[in-house]
Symmetry: none
Amino acid sequence: MRVTTESLSDTATLTSYLLDDAPTTHAVDPTMPPRPAVLVLPGGAYLEIAEREAEPVATAYLAEGFNAFVLRYAVGADVPFEASLADATAALLRIRSGAEEFGINPHRIACAGFSAGGHLALALGTIAEEAPDALVLGYPVTMAQMGRPLGQRIPDLVGAITPDTPPIFVFATCGDPMVPVRNTLDLIAELDSHLVPFESHVYLLGGHGLSLARPASSGGQAHNVEPGAAEWFADSVRFLHTVFVDVELAGSQPGYDTLLLRRRLGVHMPLRNLVADERAVHVMAAAAPALTLAVQDGELSLLVSPAQVAQQSPDLIDRETLDKLQVSLDELN
Amino acid sequence: MRVTTESLSDTATLTSYLLDDAPTTHAVDPTMPPRPAVLVLPGGAYLEIAEREAEPVATAYLAEGFNAFVLRYAVGADVPFEASLADATAALLRIRSGAEEFGINPHRIACAGFSAGGHLALALGTIAEEAPDALVLGYPVTMAQMGRPLGQRIPDLVGAITPDTPPIFVFATCGDPMVPVRNTLDLIAELDSHLVPFESHVYLLGGHGLSLARPASSGGQAHNVEPGAAEWFADSVRFLHTVFVDVELAGSQPGYDTLLLRRRLGVHMPLRNLVADERAVHVMAAAAPALTLAVQDGELSLLVSPAQVAQQSPDLIDRETLDKLQVSLDELN
Amino acid sequence: MRVTTESLSDTATLTSYLLDDAPTTHAVDPTMPPRPAVLVLPGGAYLEIAEREAEPVATAYLAEGFNAFVLRYAVGADVPFEASLADATAALLRIRSGAEEFGINPHRIACAGFSAGGHLALALGTIAEEAPDALVLGYPVTMAQMGRPLGQRIPDLVGAITPDTPPIFVFATCGDPMVPVRNTLDLIAELDSHLVPFESHVYLLGGHGLSLARPASSGGQAHNVEPGAAEWFADSVRFLHTVFVDVELAGSQPGYDTLLLRRRLGVHMPLRNLVADERAVHVMAAAAPALTLAVQDGELSLLVSPAQVAQQSPDLIDRETLDKLQVSLDELN
Amino acid sequence: MRVTTESLSDTATLTSYLLDDAPTTHAVDPTMPPRPAVLVLPGGAYLEIAEREAEPVATAYLAEGFNAFVLRYAVGADVPFEASLADATAALLRIRSGAEEFGINPHRIACAGFSAGGHLALALGTIAEEAPDALVLGYPVTMAQMGRPLGQRIPDLVGAITPDTPPIFVFATCGDPMVPVRNTLDLIAELDSHLVPFESHVYLLGGHGLSLARPASSGGQAHNVEPGAAEWFADSVRFLHTVFVDVELAGSQPGYDTLLLRRRLGVHMPLRNLVADERAVHVMAAAAPALTLAVQDGELSLLVSPAQVAQQSPDLIDRETLDKLQVSLDELN
């Protein structure tokens, strides 16, 4: 393994943890650098860097075969958010463009951020010029108004979610006294609205800043250990392997395709999203008048898709009509 | 274990699974009936009863020491919601008032509901006259407008959440094609607003109706098995024990010291190892002649220690002799 | 679920826990009764029946989709072992012949025994007229000489192991003060000698009589809870599904075939077992003289098979010779 | 983290992986260097170094808070065992004497060896001049006569076990085709005879050389992944923490009470909920005017509680005022 730290700017350092080039690869495409990567953004309220959310997290992902990077970005009461974002963007660009040097797959870079670092990671996934391929957020700040403790204004990111936002794994604790869980709840509601694939875990117990919630990242403090919450890490690994499709041994990973399919204009897209597209509305009115009428009459839940309606209420749309509708809608993509 | 089914009404049957009154209690208050209880409400869109969400769930909680009940409530296209709610309320009342007969703690009754059964469980927790002490909801319906598939109007329950709502454990899947995850997201946002303690898990993968998401509840269908989602059950058990405060063990757990202790010359060392030490042999012959004779006569397994012999055959060596032997042997160390 | 208790004899009762005939099957052959079964034999030193190792264990396997049976067999200071064995044999016969009535697969019956019950289960697997299809043994007694505490002579079973002994899953604790772990160690050494497939776990911590090692089976005593040891149950379920080949959903269960293949006379059988068969010796001498010479000269470890030798020392036996040897040996089966 | 490789001799290199000196300690004795250490000895039949059993294992222990070392020791057909043992002994001496430099506890050094590396680790624990404090052995060679494949004679170590042998965690697979499980079975029988504390796991499935048995150490080969066997690593971590007695956390874990407390009118209730109660508003205006003003001016996030504000912005409300506010609010309950 090689561990090196480089300056990214006056304010930021990037520490790389690169596993040896040994026969432990699991690449899908053998010509691509095999390893997925995780860029870790520790928390610290944008005032400091929380070390408990830095190297311990990086080593945990290393043990799972990811190359890892820890960014210590610009922080401080007088440091504007734009400076921190610039550092984060620079780090991601550095990692992606240096994929060959780092032995990673440039399209398999996850960003894992905690607390304020979660806000920064989410910013990369929404408003920055360069986005990670997946996000892992630990008790993240997502909303603009965090008031005085934070010492600065930071942008609301919930409103910045789009269908292009990378898939997100997020966890938090029900009674977090520092970053209220509302931050996570509003985020996942928005993800659902935009059909962004996600997985979320809100644990009953646990305070703020759990990091891995295990002794190794607890700083010797019992309140930083919470067995229930500690499950998040293994779940995040399974999540990343699923969305990266990068564990190729035997067999396949069923399931994720469904989540991707429903995001295209077609009979698997929920009506709510279809009717938001004028062209799709016209297509539907022409191809499936009974369905369209039912929608207009408020008889249907708009959370279902035409395919689901066909399954449950074939009088509204039968198999043949469904197929024709799919063809017509697909032409719009 | 006793399994009995009784009619609650013309439309409902309640099946009780009552564990034997054997020494496996974990009561906080020994004068209270010891076992917590789970009332299972299977799904089925209020049109039928989904068996995969009935007995398999009950047996899973039985294995964790809960007494379990399965309610098959009024369902059907022409059955009004009020009838289903009346059945559920009657079941809860029956269980609570029959606490002594059922060997349960009347204030430790959880209600576990799936899909439409989750809606019904949530109704018990919000709008019924009698509420459970905790709720476990699997991919629940929470919103009123479920449109045509459901075949009937059911009340919105998200708006019925108050600070008095029992604590809720809820899980769902991100891309549920039948009960959109929005049902869960809106629910937990409301729980947070009213400070109701909760734990939620939204899994990336998995369709609708997973039940336990394990082979035992899959009906032989691979799509009903999802390893990630299957974690929900163990998490729900930890949640219930936490909110019920009902696991109280007496005594302590013997640890590594025990293993170290038996390696010292003393009454905890196995006879086989003692007799290999000449000095120990002399000490034993002097201090515990009956034991020594039994060893010589081949009456004892040499794999046990004097302390164990004292426990099982006090006629060979009693407590007093044992203590003297310990002192003498310890001097040799 | 139906729970019924029947008298098997003057001394024995058999309690059946039969899951409902609901769509939770996972049969390989749909014409066979779908469920595997577990016959639970509690411990109690052949003096009594330990309830903590009875129903709690049965309910745990029920939750995994097995139909379960608990046998309370003849016990007492004056009861000869033969009486207990007769009860156990009668129970197994009752279950197997009643397969249709019980809704089970008569060739998928495991016997799970603890302590003295483990001895009894092992007896079924070795010296009885009727054998289970798999054994799960918890801190079993396996050796004859258990001395005075047991109050009776019981047969040594380690010496009764043969290649036909069913596959065995066994767990114990390192410092068990009541049934020394030597009982388990001698057993698994013998299983290995006879190539009986097995899995064993000896945990560092834990006393005797842990049962499931969880609160639900602890009788409220902390010393009966041991998180490390508690893993045994899930491991036993995976073991049973593997050896029963009875979870058929998608894909296959690789691996077990290898364990079965090496038990037939052929190039995959270890030399140690081959040379014990005179006919095989002759075949080898004729077909693979260099190999035979090496064996006679003591140059080879007899724990390896001809196939392994071919891989590592092709000068002793090459591919062609190996194939011929396989054909000749196979004829002896 | 610092990763450096040094030459120990002409034949050996030692790679050190040292975690940062960050607040993740878990020392029992704060004056001792906090971290336990693991020295990894990869396998390779004493002919080569198996990389899959090198860094992947080291990173796994790093993620658990151990500092790790990988020794690439003398190997080759013509290399005598004594040379390999000399390298291993030198490595252990180097680590122990360099405890301060390496930030480790010199009496908490485990040696983890696989296959031939397991033999070497066991040699350190039995016949070398310097012994580790614990051993973790993966499918180890323990017996002298391994015949021709190994290419050299190595000493039998089973006969070298004494009561002073360090505690041992060992795992293997039932049908290991390369290092027969007899190696492990004979070892644990000897450990039991000498009362050496141990834990052993023999898995039903799995071939040779599994390493972590996970994708990260599989070299992309499905046969190197075995979910059952993969449990060994977590069990080994629990084993090491038990025998090292080195996880000591300060303070306590806040529990469910915290979640209940914030629902009562008081300083732990979020401002959002407080201001919804008219009486509470009056109390706050009187007792904590600066806080009330900040709320009115929209300077604060209403999702936090007065107690949290006091922690982060004591200028708005100090400890004394907080206590008075709590008393006043509590009277309203």
